[in-house]
């Protein structure tokens, strides 16, 4: 299963009169990991926000399974899992309540699997404490538990391993490997080298900036 999931053509974005990328074109196929590389401030997060549909400050075309993305927004969102800089975890709610709300937002997810997902990220025993009492790494793990719940085909992960310990990172890499093996796609940024997740294609934004 290697159909093209996401196709980007001639993407151009500038911020404060600085060109972040120009004529950026690439494709993401099913079963593929794409790592966006670049120095700090090179526009990695901006690119991921554009791809996920959060930011509309761009020129160029993005296609989801061959259709222009504006036309298939809802289908695209149903197939997307976005993990951003801000984990989207409410500090005053417990991990369980946070994930239940996420399940409500995505009707195809089964709330009964929340417990299992929390167990997978090592938060068993913390289901009922407010998230503000958790450590920074645990806080992010609450959000990462969404990866275990998700049935989305495209994962867009912005620095998913920040504040996660070594064992956690290995588990997440294995999870990403499984997702890709099932035909899903992953676009991510990270400053760590991905190990054991099979073929990783990289796109470097630094050269983009110079060319612009």
């Amino acid at each position: 299963m290697s159909q093209t999931m996401l196709k980007v053509e001639n993407l151009f974005c500038e911020r404060d009169d600085r060109v972040l990328f120009d004529q950026l074109s690439f494709e993401v196929d099913g079963g593929e990991i794409v790592q966006i590389e670049g120095a700090n401030g090179s526009g990695k997060t901006t690119l991921l926000r554009i791809l996920s549909g959060l930011s509309r400050n761009y020129e160029g075309e993005i296609y989801w399974q061959g259709e222009p993305i504006e036309k298939v927004r809802e289908e695209f969102r149903a197939e997307l899992l976005y993990f951003g800089h801000q984990p989207g975890v409410k500090a005053l709610l417990t991990p369980e309540e946070n994930l239940h709300w996420y399940c409500a937002l995505h009707a195809s997810l089964d709330p009964a699997r929340v417990q299992e997902a929390l167990e997978q990220v090592g938060l068993r025993g913390f289901e009922d404490v407010p998230c503000h009492t958790l450590s920074a790494g645990q806080h992010r793990r609450v959000s990462l538990a969404r990866l275990y719940l998700s049935d989305a085909r495209l994962w867009i992960l912005d620095e998913p391993f920040t504040a996660i310990d070594k064992r956690g990172v290995a588990a997440k890499e294995a999870l990403i490997g499984r997702h890709v093996a099932q035909g899903g796609s992953v676009i991510l940024t990270t400053h760590q080298d991905l190990q054991g997740s099979g073929a990783v294609r990289s796109i470097n934004l630094d050269r983009q900036g110079e060319r612009g």
Binding site: R77, Y82, G88, A104, A107, D151, Q182, G183
Partner: protein, 237 residues
Amino acid sequence: MNQPLNPQRRPAIGMGALFAATLKRDLKLSLRRKSELVNPLIFFLMVITLFPLGVSPEPGFLAELAPGVIWVAALLATLLSMDSLFRTDFDDGSLEQLLLSPQPVMLVVCAKVLAHWMLTGLALTLVAPLISVMLFLPAEGVPGLMLSLLLGTPTLSLVGAIGAALTVGLKRGGVLISLLVLPLYIPVLIFGTGAVQAAVTGLPLDGYLALLGALLALGTVLAPLAIGAALRISVSG
């Protein structure tokens, strides 16, 4: 483990469930943040308490001013609480997740505004009889006051939420909300106080209530669309 990646998804059921879940979540969040919860009510009570001290404690004079004072205090109390409606969701990234949901944003927005109104507008309406005694509002005016607040404050929440959504991306949006939203609050204020005055003097208030109801109907239909669009702009920027 992961479910098989299934292109044939379940249809978008669970809209009612999402509305209920969001309403419950927002109420729960407010109840865990008690200081913010009571802020509008305290403000409302303070204005009403201080007003007679500052102007005159003379009953006849106060009774004449009461409809306007209560309505202005309710309006400002709502406005004060508006800024926090989307602020924490924006800061912790929940807003991004909300906008990326395949479900309609309007639905979640409606639930959030309803939760906000239940803890401001509805609460203000419920304490209004007590307040009206403090300002010597004649007893005939109290039903009119409560009805007008009941119909008017949801409109204030809906319109205020548009301003909150537009300014949530700014570091200090509080002042800007007031500038954006106050002109739109004025009709509600005029018909709201009009209804109370009519009730006090024994005139029929159907007309005023019908106008407040019309404003509410218009707001309920149009405001969620505007709030959703405004949130997308704020997050995109």
